[in-house]
Amino acid sequence: MKLTGAEILCQTLEQLGVTDIFGYPGGAILPVYDALGKSKLHHVLVRHEQGATHMADGYARASGRVGVAMATSGPGATNMVTGIATAMLDSSPVVCITGQVGSKLLGSDAFQEVDITGITMPITKHNVVVSRAEDIARTVREAFLIAKSGRPGPVLVDITKDAQQASAEFDWEKCVPKLPAKRKRASYDKAEFDRAIELLNAAKRPLILAGHGIMISGAMKAFAEFVHAGHFPVAMTLLGIGAFPANDPLNLGMMGMHGEAWVNHAIQEADLLIAVGMRFDDRVTGDLRTYAKSAKKIHIEIDRAEINKNVKVDAALVGDAREVLEALNPHMEKKARPDWHARIAEMKGDSAVRDIQSLPDFGHLYAAHVINDLWKETNGEAIVVTDVGQHQMWEAQYYRHNKPRTLVTSGGLGTMGFALPAAIGAKFARPDADVWVVVGDGGFQMTMCELATIVQEKIKVNIAIINNGFLGMVRQWQEFFYDKRYVATPLVAPDFAALANAFGIRGERITTRADVAPTIRSARESKESVLIDFRVEQEDSVYPMVPAGASLHEMIRRPNNPLVETSTEP
């Protein structure tokens, strides 16, 4: 069957199971848009191409399926760069399709020509230019395969306009991916495996560091079995949240710069760390010279380049987390470890104090209150999509996620402006889910144009703006490390509720504690999206905090005030 390259692209995407594409048209991709109109694919018109990539990313993270973003050449393609880098740093399977000027014009500085494969080379897992219609189907299938396999990541396919317009034979059976025959490395040898087993069964104070890789590999069941067999306490990375239920007594909470104090102390006291699908990012280790000095380390990780990159390990099991855990499980000895758990409980102190609900209302609205109420009102079952900064850390601390893929957040790149578009993508991936955006007043202003996308697509995404009138996390650093010189952090914002109304979205402004839960309840009951502007305490900080470059146990603790921390100093 002869089709144009543009039609071949649409048919290939349909065959690959794609239903939604997030994009923005333009000259060099117009043939594809013409074909899109005749296809079964649903196109979501974004308001900025950065939004398209974040939506595809949010779609991928909420579902595990490949998200697809589309843009034209030149500025359309360069606007995608931040979104692509965000997906790269967090191993998210995204395929970006960009139009390119005609192949005869390549290299001539034609109108809207940019070398997007050159630009995105270091921030994609792979990218490729296609200049012949007959190569489109195979290349796109390869792109999906690469994006999804191993450690996932973004792939960009740049298709010249003449390739979109030319005709070629399309036969799904014949256009199979032809990826280079790569060397297959044995993932680990028996000696390494036996050493890991020995370390696991001999440990007195073991601790698991649970990361994003558990969710990517779908290892939740094998992981839970592993944890319960060894009765291991579990610390979560930011992106690992959801991989193991927060309500399991063995889940200690988040580790790292804004991790729970008892978690960071437990890491420093452990005699064995078992890292699963995480990469010892500087935000979770603090100063590497003092990190977990008394602990042996086992690293279960699919990416060989991560082994010994930041932390030298004693046993490296390179492979898919689920496969490795399933191989380990039959060898695990049942343990109770009462002394170690008692020690952690002692460090944790009186956890009732953490229940901020029972604290008296001093008339202040704290972000933690808002997040805590959001957690309670949504029964901990919403998909929460956060931006980057203080609210992101409070979400991680106060919203207790029991299910995988229910926290969508930009961890590695820390991309402000991520939340709103990513939540739109998550809603398309999980239409039945209760999707909430938790975003600061700074990040929201970066991509708030996507409110129009919500309206145009008639989808329901509720938005909680944690509005403190500052670029809060930067302000916090200025408070701690720059003598409260608040340079460029006080932030003027529009009246967000009125802004929402201008877009045709219901807007609310909340300033008191008592109004938080009822408003969240009413937003959930509404058929349409609701934006709630929570005016919270302006100069609150996230505690505890490990200053950048400090040792993990050297945390700045919350001074005496209404929000008391639970952990006692060991």
Binding site: H126, V176, L179, K309
Partner: protein, 175 residues
Amino acid sequence: MQTLVAYVENKPGVLNRVSSLARRLAINIDSLTVGPTENEEIARMTIVAHTDAKGAHRLEASLEKLVDVLLAENISERSLLERDLALIKVAADQQSRPHLMDLLKVFRGRVVDVAPDSLIVEVSGTVDKIDGLLEVLRPYGVLEMARTGRIAMTRGGDLLQPPSEAAEPAATIKT
């Protein structure tokens, strides 16, 4: 200094991906050579990099993550043969020419071009040998030099061949 060998797809842009990766890892490349193999679709690279064993592991593992790199191996610790080829144009008049010829014998260099005022010397060998020859030629006046950079191969039965098995069948993978 660490020596890596890589087999890569012989197509446009691959050299850029490899060198861009080294740049991203802040690893300075001392020399990088690319040449064809007996399979025209595959090229072989020898990369000599200013880094330690840890950096070489990272470079090796990161290279293998590139779709177009079929295999990358750090061979620094293995028994290996290294060769560098140089063409050196050296000033030579009637008087100095016989002395130069004598020197070249010691270094097993060959004169491949003779002009009234200069010679072109071809010499191959280890980097040390070529550096040694350069040292002694310098007083005569080295006018121009071109070097290939190192190529390396492990000795004897220690084979490093491109993977030959076909790519995994992927036709059934869906989103």
